[in-house]
Symmetry: C2
Subunit: 150 residues, 2 copies
DNA sequence: CATTACCCTACTAAGCCGATAGGTTAAATC
DNA sequence: GATTTAACCTATCGGCTTAGTAGGGTAATG
């Protein structure tokens, strides 16, 4: 929401933590299932204390968004579709919650302010740009390693 | 809100535009009513196309927050409680919508992440700080004059 | 073919949001 | 002092979103 208002939904928070969990366990090569078993939804749910069925629907969304792959059956589970350093926070947030910035349901660029309020639009656009810059910069490789780029 | 998600509610959007309107009409000296009449809620509502009764409740909130003063009766209305260059965007946003940044209803500093997700908290805190820096920097003097500090 | 774990749709309770209704109180005017 | 004006204040409401659950379908393994 920001903003301009950074308001993170439970859904996004859970999604990010789930991806971190996948990025932490083991490195991924070109989106192939890892040498060991993939990680089950249930295991992630326990590790991060996320309601199991809720997480399931989030992982489904992440798969459709191209962030994770999945396999069914025994020894099934989830793994990252790309190396962790090619998945940014911004990507996961937008897959789950839609566009980063909104003002009354509209993206800042398409607002139609009157008179002196017009300068306001420039502010929202600038804040959004700054926010986007940060969130695109941080990858899940950073998060998994605990090393931030700032 | 962001974020991390810049999500601006209609309420905040209206509040900001109302304060811009007050800041634009005439300068304020030490919170005293202006030489001419104060500006009525109805006039602001028309100028900025805001639902009148909704705006009324917003102005009430702004008065309780110390941003505007009001006077009742004929020739009554609203005016800025301080000079426009001493009212920041951040102040108005927080008066109307509460804390700038929230993650699942909590402010970033009081989150309790487990294991590798702990680094995440640093990200939220950093994003919030950056956002706050911008929004505290922009005052309604800037907005009224159309000159942004960046 | 039985088990496991993902897939998918539908649903629900609760809360928030935008907005309105309608009356109360204070200040100015006549 | 009666009237008018405009702010003050509370309550309410419909609609949407959010967080979370239920329950069955489907693919992979052995």
């Amino acid at each position: 929401m920001i903003l301009v208002h950074m308001r993170l939904s439970a859904r996004v928070d859970y999604a990010i933590r789930a991806v971190i969990e996948l990025a932490t366990i083991e490195p991924v090569v070109a989106g192939k299932p890892p040498a060991e078993f993939p990680i089950t939804s249930e295991r992630i749910a326990k590790a991060q204390e996320i309601p199991p069925k809720f997480l399931e629907s989030i992982l489904l969304q992440l798969r459709r968004g191209g962030v994770v792959n999945a396999q069914r059956g025994p020894e099934g589970g989830y793994w990252l579709a790309r190396p962790a350093d090619q998945i940014s926070l911004a990507q996961v947030i937008e897959i789950i919650d839609g566009p980063l910035s909104q003002v009354r349901g509209h993206v800042p660029a398409e607002l139609d302010y009157q008179g002196p309020a017009r300068t306001l639009q420039e502010v929202w656009v600038a804040v959004e740009a700054q926010e986007r810059r940060m969130l695109e910069q941080v990858t899940f490789a950073h998060l998994a390693s605990g090393q931030l780029p700032f």
